[in-house]
Amino acid sequence: MAQAVAANEEQMDRWAVIWDWITTSDHKKIGLLYFWTSMAFFFVGGFLALGVRSQLAVPNSTMLSPEVYNQFFTMHALVMIFLALMPMSAAFFNYIIPLQIGARDVAFPRLNSFSYWVYLFGGLLLCSGFLFGAAPDIGWTGYATLSSAQYTPGQSGDFYVMGLQVLGISTLAAGLNFFVTILNMRAPGMSLMRMPMFVWMSLITFVLIMLAFPSLTIALFALMMDRNFDTVFFSPTDGSVVMWQHLFWIFGHPEVYILILPSFGIISEVLPTFSRKPLFGYSFVVFSGIAIGFLGFGVWVHHMFTVGLGPIPNMVFSSVTMLIAIPTGVKILNWLATLWGGSIRLTTAMLFAVAFVGMFTIGGISGVMHAAVPIDYWQHDTYFVVAHLHYVLFGGTMFGLIAGIYYWFPKMYGRYMSEGLGRIHFWLTLIGFNLTFFPMHFLGVDGMPRRIYTYPSDYGYELWNMVATIGAYVLGLGMALMVFNLIKSIRSGAPAPADAWDGRTIEWTTTSPPAKHNFDHIPQIRARDDFWDEKYNRKEEKDKPADEHIHLPPGSYIPLLLSFGLLLMGAGVIFTLWLSLIGGIVTTVALFAWAFEPND
């Protein structure tokens, strides 16, 4: 069956292949589209970061003008968070979740394709600000009133509002889709407490997406109304200047858990596999994940301690923030206990997963430091915060995602990535990362504010800034090496068998790469870590006949059309409302076409 599909694909001419990718509803292809698109945006964000670091390498630098610098650091954050890290998690959601729960696709395949195209168009819309010299330059938090029409006239604020709004639609659609997929499409016997940990952490992520993104959507909508239709939500005289901060951080804090939880899940797969031990304290990891997700909604004011809300709110939110360190600490101890006494194989994936634990712990501890209000008064808006968030988002999220890349690449492409190159990549990344971000702790404590385009020469900031810049280039080299490794391994990596790592979960039972229908027969799950159990405990014959009627959803071009309509609507608010009208018509037509397209 797999060979037949492959042969069939070879016969198609180039346009047919492109059309197939455009209209695909296969979760694996959409996963790869997500993966490579997010990788491309990751390098856009990386390029912007190098711009920022080059500017800050020496005092009184004039390489970038203040205006361009503002665009660079703002877009670096937006691109990395919304266009690189979240979609790279989405690549794994798409590719791995159906395989891990024993499904043949997601619950709503066309919606899945729609999510991808909206993500791509939203990303292009956001980045196209550079083409008009008006990329967002108001920080990724886009604080109103700074982002109001009065203080950010011109289009840069509109690119921020509409770009994020369109991306939010993509995220919400994907979150809802995968929430239903995980709850409803598990293989028989896979109870919730038998689900692989990556699926569990993803499920919590989707609940966070469903409940946190509406706040951002409303905030952006209100800002759009303020900027374009004269409302006074954030006006200093009629409205409220603090409202935006509340709305943004009610979204923004769960968002950091949306970013980190998938990586928690990934390393909870990688560590047990390469320790040849089950995850220590499975239910503790599950429930601490749920606790983190729940508490994540009650801590947003810790981003606003210096606003002046008064001692009572600050104290309450400070306490809840410290509380959240408990479930997080539980997880870290669980991972360490998983390693304890295991027969450890230090593959590249394992190296990144272990480094994740260390780096994330540093980021977590500096986070607890901010949670104390008096210390936060000192550290607020300094480079200490920049150091903290990069230890969490790079040393945490990105290290976890890279571990995932090395771990699941054999499943995706049927070949191993080069371990030799992988090791060099790992050490370059680890050293470059710490060189870049550890000195920022010192800079922050010395009082260097974030978001400034340069600094004078007699403040003692020179040394650590130079070190950080050198580190950034080392880091960039490491990342370039990863892409080289990816491309080289796709072409000539060592062939990987179905069970590439002596894995534990059922995605390793199917071929590498999996056939279009994933499984010849839907597996019957009898244990947590079912595949491991089958290999080493049950030792029973499991060769069932393949299912006879395998139903796969057909492809469709309508998701693309619908997302294009949304793009036009968003772009219309930035340029001319006529474009929104056309977009509205396209969207409406596409919605009706969607509803009436035969799809069963």
Binding site: F108, L176, N184, L211, S215, D230, V232, F233
Partner: protein, 202 residues
């Protein structure tokens, strides 16, 4: 356990026993709760500033008897919907069309009444940017109106499908899912009506 027995035989068996579409609607409504929750929360924060707004505040403009009538119409539409669903489940297609059309009509009546109120406010000088009441009132209720309008279009679509013979008795879940949405939009209106209209502005 039902899912275990049917796996491989029934393509549409789901783990929870609830169909994908219905679970999706529940999940969407959870998310939508947060949309309206955010809007109502914003309104509540702005509310104390609204008592004195120089002749264009809620105390001067809001017409509670009229809005109560509109609220009554919208709430009764939920009753009509339930009767329509029940008719379909009993195989009474004609009854279903009548009741769902009634629901859609009552939804339109509500929209018309609210639009009339918008026009009245507008004529008296309350625009989007006049003051915080104009901003918060038009945006919060407008967001709800968009939801009602989508619901009306959905209902008309269901009636049209029924006339074309595409909505059999065994497909009553399609109507049920639309009902989840419609009832939710009604419930949200109760919250908005309470906090925007009923609670006194002081």
């Amino acid at each position: 356990m039902a899912a275990d027995h049917h796996a491989g035989h029934d393509e549409h068996a789901t783990t929870t026993g609830t169909s994908h579409n219905k679970l999706m609607m529940w999940a969407f409504l959870a998310s939508d709760c947060m949309f309206f929750g955010t809007l109502v929360m914003m309104y509540m924060v702005y509310r104390p500033d609204m008592a004195e707004l120089g002749g264009l505040g809620p105390n001067d403009l809001l017409d509670i008897p009229f809005s109560s009538l509109m609220t009554f119409v919208l709430l009764m539409s939920s009753l009509a919907f339930v009767l329509g669903l029940s008719a379909l489940q009993r195989g009474n297609h004609k009854g279903m069309r009548i009741w769902l059309s009634t629901t859609a009509f009552m939804g339109l009546l509500f929209l018309g009444g609210e639009f009339f109120e918008y026009m009245k406010f507008w004529d008296e000088g309350l625009k989007l940017g006049t003051n915080i009441f104009g901003t918060a009132y038009f945006v919060t209720t407008g967001f709800h109106k968009i939801h009602v309008a989508i619901g009306v279009i959905w209902l008309i679509g269901l009636v049209a499908m029924s006339y074309r013979g595409q909505l059999g008795t065994h497909q009553s879940e399609k109507v049920e899912i639309a009902g989840l949405y419609w009832h939710f939009v009604d419930i949200v209106w109760i919250v908005i009506f309470t906090f925007v209209f009923l609670v006194p502005y002081r």
